[in-house]
């Protein structure tokens, strides 16, 4: 798993929850390779924020996009070459504030990508402002009296939007998280995995360890999934929802691949000639 690391200097805070995600993803890659997914075809994308530093540390091909926009990059990669497996990293601000529309639409389309949401419930890199998943009352530099907004419920939000694999993990349980990532990548469709991840200047590991609970049974239906996501508190980890429905690129062009099955110049010109003849 060492060769999955680049030589880049790691600049996460010591003890950061991101290390757990970094380890879990490096554990997951060989497991995926054992299941026949080639490392060459795994593409990562990241937005901007502490989560995104993982892009520099993982020795995998990919695209380090703009804040909030990398989900669109991921969609464009998948649409152009569906043979590639996309793992899309995001923070809760990247994916649910600046990039909310893109996250929702990628789920709505059931794009066949795996979306890993590093949930630290804070804008860590920009010094501690409240984020889309921060508790109401979070005191940060932009909300000195505490935030006035209730956080999103990411599980119900993504189930409603159309994600077909919706789960939550914890960066303090690497084995469980690794397993979720493997299942998410294997799942055909939009997989959303939220990862509870303390940003240590703002949160303590103990707050998480005390509260994390495991979902006893995976809900079997849509309504049971919504019910569980509504009723269980936000430190509940496990798979909330799993279903199958048509994935976007197959709806768009079936078994075609715009890159590997690209038409030659001659074929294109012949078709253009026919179009012009009809005009």
């Amino acid at each position: 798993m060492e060769n999955l690391k680049t030589s880049a200097e790691i600049t996460w805070c010591p003890g950061c929850g991101n290390f757990g995600i970094f380890t879990a993803i490096r554990n997951a890659i060989p497991k995926l390779e054992n299941k026949g997914i080639k490392r060459d075809s795994i593409i990562i994308t990241a937005g901007i924020g502490c989560h995104a530093k993982i892009f520099d540390y993982l020795n995998l091909s990919g695209f380090y996009g703009l804040h909030g926009r990398n989900t669109s990059n991921s969609e464009g990669i998948k649409i152009a070459n569906p043979d590639l497996k996309i793992i899309n990293f995001s923070g809760d601000a990247n994916g649910l504030a600046e990039g909310l529309a893109h996250t929702m639409f990628a789920a709505k389309r059931n794009q066949d990508i795996t979306f890993i949401l590093h949930n630290n419930s804070v804008y860590a890199l920009t010094t501690g402002q409240f984020s889309p998943l921060a508790e109401k009352g979070w005191k940060g530099p932009s909300t000195p009296k505490g935030s006035y907004e209730e956080p999103f419920n990411s599980m119900t939000l993504m189930i409603e939007a159309g994600a077909t694999f919706v789960a939550r993990g914890f960066s303090g349980d690497i084995e469980h998280l690794t397993n979720l990532i493997v299942q998410g990548v294997e799942h055909e469709g939009f997989s959303f995995i939220e990862v509870l991840q303390p940003a240590v200047p703002y949160h303590k590991w103990a707050e998480y360890r005390e509260r994390v609970e495991y979902l006893e049974n995976e809900p079997e239906t849509y309504f049971k999934a919504i019910k569980a996501a509504k009723e269980k508190h936000k430190f509940t980890v496990g798979v909330f929802y799993r279903t199958l429905r048509p994935i976007y690129h197959k709806e768009l062009y079936g078994e075609h691949n715009p890159i590997t099955k690209r038409l030659s110049k001659e074929t294109r010109l012949e078709k253009i000639r026919k179009i012009l003849e009809s005009k």
Partner: protein
């Protein structure tokens, strides 16, 4: 009115088949081997209002419609009022006598005849075709053949309706303008079709768009042709998604294009800058309409030039070019796709509603389109941002054993984020090398079109060029038209010789953005500037008179 041009104008409400009748007329003319230019003027609504279609035809190449028509068919009172001054001397006006009586022209009870048939609204268009058929000396059988082919719904009714109209007008104006044949039949296409086909010819794989007039018809055309050409064509949730999806596709090696108008491009500027930093070859079609803000959606202007030249934060090379004719739009789109891939940087094909949505007969040598092909990496030790002599790093696409990292942060050659002062400077220098290299490359391309000879020199760009060329023919004016195809880098080497000449700049911007560019970059101080910014394209007669005034 020049006697070598015949112009037909149809006015009516949206939904009455005005544009369709214009298109049918254009195809009647082209089938006789004549050249055609069709301009559709429509409001931003679905039903009602006032729309008109104007089709000018000649035996020679014609590059504009004329607003003085030889034959006008008005479906309603509002059309009559709007086009009261648009009839040429000796021209014919047909009006709807069910709506008004005491106007000049030939009254036809269009509404009451149409009421006899179902599909009422579309009938008006067929009526206009029937009038045209009579005026240009078509026999009824010829007319019926056309109606059968062009109006497949309710053929019997349409033919019967057309026949009634034909019988009413034929004794009064039949055969008044018999049209001579031209040399051979040419296809009629819109500017947006030329752009779409040029892109496909040069290797387009994916197209992303969000509906916005006047670029939407690229999205529609390519969506319809997606399966035929093996493309992925996607209507995304916003222009922000559009450009980021396209950039993602380029990462895999897909030739990608996006299309929009000014407001949509404003949303894309963040991604445009991303393409600059990540050295993403991406082609943006920016079809201008009057701004600022929502502006006037279905009309034309050239006021996004400065925006195109400066959009996006940070220093990076962008290529900006604008086609002067619809034929050139085909070749230039292909050339631009090739250029952005050669230089791994974003480019903008700048055009206008007037080019995007007007139709013209074309002679296109389709195989002359360039085929976009990047410089590829061979072997091991791949570095996405390898610093080379010309600043262009060889490309590699996944899946690959090599790790390929594209990065929106400043980065090292491998693509890893950096804050190192030396590397920041070095990477700026690497990207900036391309600014010099592309200028040398452009010196071997046709970057400026020059038409005619002698002074004055008339500078124009984009579709205004078509209007100016037609104006010179109409007014029999001797002049040289200089049309820079490339606006960034602007080919100073081809333009500086005009500095001391008598120059006139014609454009569609109220502040004179094009004239400012010529002044700043080339040192050209025009003797006169002709600006139009009412949303309407130039009329050749009008612009010809104005050129004569300033001479």
């Amino acid at each position: 009115m020049k006697n070598d041009v015949f112009t037909f104008l149809i006015g009516g409400k949206a939904g009455e088949g005005v544009k369709k009748a214009g298109s049918v007329a254009a195809h009647i003319f082209s089938s006789k081997g004549r050249h055609v230019f069709q301009m559709d003027d429509y409001m931003s609504l679905i039903r009602g209002g006032h729309n008109f279609s104007v089709v000018s035809t000649s035996q020679r190449w014609i590059s504009s419609h004329y607003m003085k028509a030889n034959l006008i068919v008005n479906f309603d009172k509002r059309s009559c009022e709007t086009h009261i001054n648009d009839v040429d001397e000796g021209g014919i006006v047909i009006f709807n006598s069910d709506e008004q009586e005491d106007v000049e022209g030939i009254g036809v009870p269009l509404s009451s005849i149409a009421k006899k048939y179902p599909l009422k609204s579309l009938m008006y268009g067929v009526g206009a075709v029937a009038v045209l058929a009579s005026v240009i000396d078509f026999k009824k059988e010829e007319m019926n053949q056309i109606i059968k082919a062009e109006y497949p719904r309710g053929i019997e009714d349409n033919i019967s309706f057309a026949s009634e109209i034909y019988d009413i007008v034929n004794p009064k104006c039949g055969s008044k303008f018999p049209l001579e044949r031209g040399d051979y039949k040419r296809p009629i296409i819109t500017g947006n079709e030329a752009i779409s086909l040029g892109a496909v010819a040069s290797g387009l794989d994916t197209y992303y768009g969000y509906p916005m007039t006047p670029a939407s018809s690229i999205l529609h055309f390519l969506a319809k042709q997606a399966e035929n050409f093996g493309l992925a064509v996607v209507h995304a949730e916003s222009e922000i998604a559009v450009i980021n999806m396209a950039i993602g596709s380029v990462f895999t090696g897909a030739k990608s294009m996006v299309g929009t108008s000014g407001g949509g491009f404003a949303l894309m500027t963040e991604g445009f800058s991303l393409a600059g930093m990540t050295e993403t070859p991406l082609l943006v079609i920016l079809s201008q309409r009057p701004g600022p803000a929502t502006g006037v959606p279905t009309y034309t202007e050239q006021a996004d030039l400065s925006f195109a030249l400066s959009a996006g934060h940070g220093d990076f090379l962008r290529i900006v070019a604008s086609p002067g004719t619809i034929e050139e739009a085909y070749y230039l789109t292909a050339e631009m796709l090739d250029l952005v891939w050669k230089f791994q940087t974003p480019g903008i094909l700048l055009t206008e509603k007037h080019l995007s949505e007007s139709s013209i007969t074309v002679d296109i040598e389709i195989e002359k389109a360039k085929w976009a092909e990047p410089k590829m990496h061979q072997g091991e030790n791949y570095k996405r941002y390898l610093d080379t002599e010309d600043g262009i790093s060889p490309m590699l696409f996944p899946p690959s054993k090599e790790v390929i990292k594209w990065n929106s942060y400043e980065h090292d050659e491998f693509g890893i984020t950096t804050e190192n002062a030396n590397i920041i400077e070095k990477m700026h220098d690497k990207r900036n090398k391309k600014i010099k290299v592309i200028q040398d490359y452009l010196k071997n391309l046709n970057t400026v079109n020059v038409y005619g000879n002698g002074e004055p020199i008339i500078f124009s760009y984009g579709s205004t060029t078509m209007s100016v060329l037609e104006a010179l023919k109409y007014g029999n004016i001797e002049a040289t038209v200089v049309q820079p195809i490339y606006l960034n880098p602007i080919p100073v080497w081809n333009l500086e010789s005009y500095r001391e000449k008598e120059n006139i700049v014609v454009e569609m911007s109220s502040t004179g953005q094009f004239a400012s560019l010529l002044k700043e970059k080339v040192g050209i101080s025009p003797k006169a500037e002709l600006r139009q910014y009412n949303g309407r394209p130039f009329d050749p007669i009008d612009i010809s008179n104005k050129i004569k005034e300033v001479l």
